[in-house]
Symmetry: C2
Subunit: 339 residues, 2 copies
DNA sequence: AACCGATACGAAATCGGTTTCGTGTTGATA
DNA sequence: TATCAACACGAAACCGATTTCGTATCGGTT
């Protein structure tokens, strides 16, 4: 087994001091040509690589980014993560991921685990539970310690930090307008219970569109589904009892389930029922009919979040100015709507 | 901004030595009651937390695990990752993820980035390109340095290390037998070009089942599709030219696409065409008809991989014995087959 | 009074680097 | 020949912890 070689080893072997080796390997002008070449050759021969931990300790920079997301087995978060990882790697940063599992406690524990030197900054989306509890002390503590933080998608006004979001309200508005323009006027909304997180804004956009087009909003056309839903009873009941010709879903799972129930009932998509979902993921692309959906551009979101964070991390003076970047969602037309 | 407090700060403030503080905080018997209480109270008050980096440097243990996967926007890898993260976190480890993007070079770069002290061990699935090139020097170098390595799913015999795989051959065999038992006898195989990675074994199982049931294998019934395929021309041609009553797909994307084409052609599933896919992901569950598929139990795979790795990391003596754990894939019956 | 064993704590090395500053040697200059 | 700057390198501090070993102090024993 070849052990890792250190500066000390090289110094001992070549009979020079550690500082000389360090400088020689950085090609410092301070060291004579012969000595430098000798040291560099030796280092290459034995494949010397500096120890990251030692450098981190000295520099107080780890070149690690901490990412905390509620769920990794979820297409949107996965794509955002991909964007973060891509940008960060390219800038020489590694990404440490923790999954909060929508739990407040896990979110806190994960943050504490990472906040003691393991990372230079955080990128995160709040867990569902954190949003319900409205307790953001763990975030505040971290920012007070001077650790940069970027929130994405599931954000809060309570914490001063950089943020990246999509224009959820406008996107929902646009989607509904598109449905109206195609001749629909009994438009349902399938959303999450309690309008969790971004669902609130999407509902706002939904109602604004109805209002502007003088369509009386109908409470009965709003269906609140459990966050992780197992059976389709609630949706089936809805299909049986309500009369509607289009539906906006706050995620693609709800949309795909709607397609399924509609098909079982012999309802024609998009003629009798048009469907638009949020999250332009694999389900939207591969369902039959394929799904018109609001693309949230997760990769770009991740890249921007990473860019904002790394800029903060690498700027010496800590600025007290925070930005909120808004990513324009776009509607990808497919087979589940009329165009 | 509250800066992080260090042992030195506490020592200076309370006028004791650094070593006394360190011992007091570990509740060492060496330190007198009064001193200990004073120090502990002070530490709690100022929310002292030891610096992970310093501890890592001293212990030569980072409590970080490096995970390198070909693609994170892929359900199977995501679930495996989830399992790794879950187990690792529970054991006090953090997970650093790098995505190789199916590229050999990125895989090498990522490994080198992490192998210099950032992590205690690797868990990875080989990139497609690495498997094609058959070049595993980067893996060998790492293991020679004494860094534990666990390969999962996409493994190789060339490297001596722990491995976790599923019984792909047997699972494919079982799936085909199930199709035969349900009365099918012209069974197609939709696989990846060049039988990339695990596809080879799945094909082996497919052929073995045919042979044992005395069904003449038909080359024409094997369709090789591009790894990332964009259009459906190839599959459509296949549907038009071939006569078959069942198909085994090496992943769920191929399976869902098959469903779609079949539906467009008015072929009834599962009566006229039965379909079984690999990877029991969200597509399988939510497609219509829902898909009978081979569950690879990614979460368990990840947990086991993490368990094996952490055991190696935490055992002092480096064993030269390596295990290969085989996870039993199971078939989840849904609507795309007759039962 | 001399000695001894606890007790309670501090000094210093160590992990593997970086960086500042000091110094011996050299050749050039006055 | 004495002086001095430039050159080339080493000693040591530092980052923030852990840990070994040494020692001052104190009460008790003979």
């Amino acid at each position: 087994m070849k052990r890792k070689i250190t500066l000390k080893d090289i110094a001992r072997e070549l009979d020079v001091s550690i500082s000389t080796v360090s400088k020689a390997l950085k090609n410092s002008e301070e060291i004579g040509r012969n000595t430098k070449e000798k040291i560099q050759a030796f280092a290459k021969l034995y494949n010397y690589k500096p120890n990251n931990i030692a450098i981190s300790l000295k520099n107080k920079r780890t070149k690690n980014i901490g990412v905390i997301i509620p769920d990794i087995v979820h297409h949107f978060f996965t794509t955002v993560f991909r964007g973060i990882e891509k940008y960060a790697n390219q800038k020489g940063y590694n990404v440490i991921v923790c999954v909060s599992d929508e739990s407040f406690d896990k979110e806190v524990i994960n943050m504490e685990m990472l906040a003691n030197g393991s990372i230079d900054g955080f990128i995160m989306a709040l867990s569902a539970e954190t949003q319900m509890k409205n307790d953001f002390n763990h975030l505040k503590e971290v920012t007070e310690q001077g650790i940069p933080l970027v929130l994405f998608d599931r954000v809060t006004d309570e914490v001063n930090c950089d943020k990246v979001i999509i224009n959820d309200e406008q996107a929902a508005y646009d989607a509904v307008v598109r449905l109206i323009d195609s001749g629909k006027n009994r438009i349902a909304l399938f959303t999450t219970e309690n309008y969790l997180g971004v669902s609130r804004k999407r509902a706002d956009g939904y109602f604004r569109a109805l209002k502007e087009y003088n369509i009386e909003p109908d409470e009965n056309l709003v269906l609140q589904l459990p966050f992780q839903y197992e059976n389709e009873d609630k949706s089936e009941t809805f299909f049986n009892s309500q009369n509607f010709d289009a539906v906006l879903c706050v995620n693609e799972i709800f949309a795909v389930r709607a397609i399924r129930i509609a098909q079982l009932k012999g309802i024609k998509i998009p003629q009798d029922l048009s469907i638009i979902g949020f999250t332009d993921g694999i389900l939207s692309k591969l369902s039959s009919p394929s799904l018109t959906s609001v693309a949230q551009h997760g990769i770009r979101m991740g890249e921007i979040a990473a860019k904002m964070l790394i800029e903060k991390v690498e700027s010496d003076r800590d600025q007290e100015t925070f930005r909120t970047e808004i990513i324009e969602a776009t509607i990808i037309e497919r087979e589940s709507t009329i165009h």
